[in-house]
Symmetry: C2
Subunit: 132 residues, 2 copies
């Protein structure tokens, strides 16, 4: 994924200030993976997968919501981890060896996950706890 403007599915535009290939993951404290249609593209970017692997290998903080955990399936880091996700990809997480739970937020050490935008309050609350 490249640097520059990106338009979301509801038409909002944001500026991506760095491409995955230029990210040094050691410079960051937390990896947040949002949902929507993005994760199906991000999971095909080998640099993005290397970033995800760095965070899991170093036991750094990771937060994923909705379709976000698709990236973690592709990075091969979700096996044996407690997680939740958008219900439509639940069976993919289970097939990949995640320990799926149907909770608004699932905390497994430094890795937190939520199901949908309705869970954003709980997701944000646990993310802030991690960063304290």
């Amino acid at each position: 994924m490249r640097k520059g403007p990106i338009k979301g599915k509801h038409g909002y535009e944001i500026e991506a200030d760095i491409a995955f290939k230029d990210v040094n993951p050691a410079d960051y404290d937390i990896l947040v993976i949002s949902g929507g249609k993005g994760p199906e593209k991000i999971r095909l970017d080998k640099d993005a997968l290397e970033i995800a692997r760095h965070f899991f290998k170093e036991n750094k903080q990771v937060a994923a919501i909705c379709h976000g955990p698709q990236v973690l399936v592709s990075a091969g880091v979700i096996k044996g981890r407690k997680a939740t996700c958008w219900i439509g990809i639940r069976d993919d997480l289970i097939a990949a060896g995640a320990l799926y739970k149907d909770n608004e937020v699932v905390v497994d050490g430094n890795f937190i996950s939520s199901r949908s935008p309705a869970d954003l309050y709980a997701f944000g609350r646990e993310m802030i706890k991690l960063l304290k």
Copy 2:
């Protein structure tokens, strides 16, 4: 999924003439699973999963394209089968034990699959061969 009008993602409307729960799969020769956003909902319908299992158990003809194989992951029937799919869910099929191939159409006995709308010609061609 219920009987009645259904609107597709480009706004086209079709009439679903039977609900999954009212289908007797023994009455049908082929199961065709299309793609798009539907499979993430269909895979949550236990009656739809039973229909898919019937076709695999009886070695009847099944054709799935794009996101369609998500239904087969949830039905637990794709392990050890040669298959292809939309590239964004490739790693989910692999995690579920499918033998993924990046071809326009993959034929594994009575089960055929394709990657995307660009493969529709090959998908249709192999489907017609199955039904002959």
